[in-house]
């Protein structure tokens, strides 16, 4: 179960609950589960609950969280006692999400160079990348972007010297010791190795994002034909 929490104000309308100080998939999964459950309990005056590697942030309205007591102290007390009522068994487990990826060709322009730089074949890179189970530590950076843990050290590759001005949504990349999927068309400096036909951010859907903190992710290699078919189906 979670280590004892430490509370810190983050300005006058947010606070941070800290549960540890290093990256650990078990810890961030537990924090994600607590975040999920706390969100479902709809604490009064809390506007957003944002899990990260070792912390949970609560954005709140000081006018709504506690009458008579200073708002920060009131909310800390509420959350502290709520946390005590939670046991590991009650926490929801993350899902396993499979993300189809068409590796290489026009969708993964950096795949061949990346393979070469590690003295691996393209097939080996694909097989290593798609064999691992990744863990969603948190979402951030842009809507729907998952900070994934679990990249095989053999594939860790520095970012490109010159970021691309335009990386298409769905691009799968490697940047340093991280791998991930670009949810939006954005500039980007990661080495692009493939693309998924899935949309990671759909503003009109509920929930709007494919992934959530605490989920596990696997990449499943697909061919160009399947990519085209699934792109059409997703559109």
């Amino acid at each position: 179960m979670l280590p004892a929490p430490r509370f810190f104000p983050m300005g006058d309308q947010a606070l941070i609950v800290e549960f540890g100080d290093r990256v650990d998939p078990t810890l961030s999964a537990e924090i994600a589960a607590v975040a999920h459950r706390l969100r479902e309990s709809r604490p009064i005056g809390v506007l957003d609950i944002v899990p990260a590697y070792t912390t949970l942030a609560l954005h709140y309205d000081p006018a709504a969280v506690g009458a008579g007591t200073p708002p920060y102290e009131a909310l800390v007390e509420t959350i502290e006692s709520w946390l005590k009522t939670q046991t590991a068994a009650m926490l929801p487990a993350g899902r396993l999400i499979e993300i189809p990826v068409c590796y290489g060709s026009a969708f993964g322009e950096d795949l061949a160079t990346l393979a070469q730089s590690h003295n691996l074949s393209v097939e080996e890179v694909i097989s290593i990348h798609s064999a691992a189970t990744y863990h969603v530590h948190l979402l951030g950076f842009v809507p729907g972007f998952a900070y994934l843990g679990g990249l095989d050290a053999r594939l860790a590759t520095p970012r490109r010297d010159m970021p691309r001005p335009h990386v298409p949504a769905g691009s799968v990349g490697i940047g340093g010791e991280q791998t991930g999927v670009y949810p939006l068309d954005t500039p980007g400096g990661w080495q692009i190795i493939g693309r998924t036909p899935l949309q990671l951010f759909k503003p009109d859907a509920m929930p709007p994002c494919l992934l959530n903190a605490g989920d596990a992710v696997r990449f499943v290699p697909i061919g160009v034909e399947e990519f085209e078919a699934r792109s059409k189906a997703a559109a």
Binding site: P9, Q13, D48, P51, L139, F141, P143
Partner: protein
């Protein structure tokens, strides 16, 4: 009711109180940079305070009202005119069909807010009408206004301020406004040196005393590459010696990050939801609108206060807004 965009201005976007409830998906809150002026403009036009307003930045747009409308302008003084006549700020204004709202020089502040009775009619995306251009969501097609856009806006047949409608009907002028105005403290926006209050941040203690002094003892200037995501600050005092990078975690409106350069960045409305730079301090919520109204080159100095003070100031500000609403409501039937 519609409004035709004859000229878009530098950056004119629809914003409301922000897109809450989705930060755990990495979706920024967005919303008005100066939510104080945004809310006053809505109150003056008899709207709910979270109706979208048009946030107008430095160089304003030119807009033609195709029908009579009840509007209000608050925030920065960007020299607004209606058919060439100086238009009042901090007031309810009834404008005649066909009249053109235009803007000139920026006299004080950076961002003006245009509210219209009934609000701007754009789809609600994830609970908000706020434009977040990077993800192309909210507002008008997820972007700033362009020439030729037609904004659909709330109903013109408002029963509010009947006296203004009569005054407009009885005159040949393009608009009618009452004698009274809301004091929106616009004089504060024109200060040559703005004082912005802050709280110690989560990593305050991780910075050496010299760095903390550099943050509070020296003046800073708003850098030209500041935008809705963040205010970049330039100053004599470099805030150095901090922890470098931290494990990414949540940030908020007003978070002061210290990147390796030592030049602080204050995160604003379109900030990302998490960040990896140490957070030395946080701007108090009641002073965020002062920061939002600073222009590139404007100077500011930070002043440290306590959390209890900051929250008391916020509760007082909320009370002030209720008082303003009550005062305005007394005029609605006039």
């Amino acid at each position: 009711m519609s409004i035709t965009v004859l000229k878009p201005g530098m950056l004119s976007t629809l914003q409301d109180g922000g897109r809450y409830g989705f930060q755990h998906f990495g979706v920024p809150v967005s919303g008005a940079m100066d939510s104080f002026s945004h809310r006053i403009a809505n109150i003056l036009t008899d709207n709910k305070t979270d109706e979208a307003t048009l946030e107008i930045t430095l160089r304003g747009p030119r807009l033609r009202f195709e029908r009579d409308a009840l509007i209000a302008l608050c925030g920065a003084d960007l020299s607004p005119t209606i058919d060439g006549v100086s238009a009042p700020e901090g007031k309810a204004v009834r404008v005649r069909a066909g009249s053109v709202l235009d803007f000139g020089d920026s006299v004080a502040g950076c961002r003006a807010y245009l509210a219209i009775h009934g609000g701007f009619d754009v789809p609600v995306v994830m609970g908000s009408r706020s434009t977040y251009a990077s993800a192309r969501i909210g507002g008008l097609d997820g972007r700033a206004l362009r020439r030729g856009d037609v904004l659909s806006a709330g109903n013109a047949k408002s029963s509010a301020y009947p006296g203004l409608s009569w005054a407009l009907a009885a005159s040949k002028r393009s608009f009618a406004a009452p004698k009274w105005a809301v004091n929106q403290h616009i004089e504060k926006l024109g200060r040559s040196l703005q004082i912005v209050r802050i709280l110690a941040g989560r990593h305050w203690d991780a910075f050496p005393p010299a760095a903390r002094d550099a943050l509070t003892a020296h003046e800073f200037r708003i850098a030209t590459d500041s935008n809705r995501m963040g205010c970049r600050l330039e100053g004599l005092g470099v805030v150095a010696g901090g922890p470098g990078e931290i494990l990414s975690e949540a940030v908020t409106f007003g978070t002061i990050q210290i990147p390796p350069s030592g030049q602080p960045i204050v995160l604003m409305a379109d900030r990302q939801t998490v960040g990896g730079y140490p957070k030395i301090a946080e701007v108090v919520t009641v002073d965020l609108h002062l920061l939002a109204q600073l222009r590139p080159g404007d100077r500011l100095r930070f002043e440290l206060v306590s959390l209890a003070q900051a929250q008391a100031l916020w509760l007082k500000r909320e009370q002030e807004i209720i008082t303003i609403r009550e005062a305005v409501e007394k005029h609605l039937t006039e």
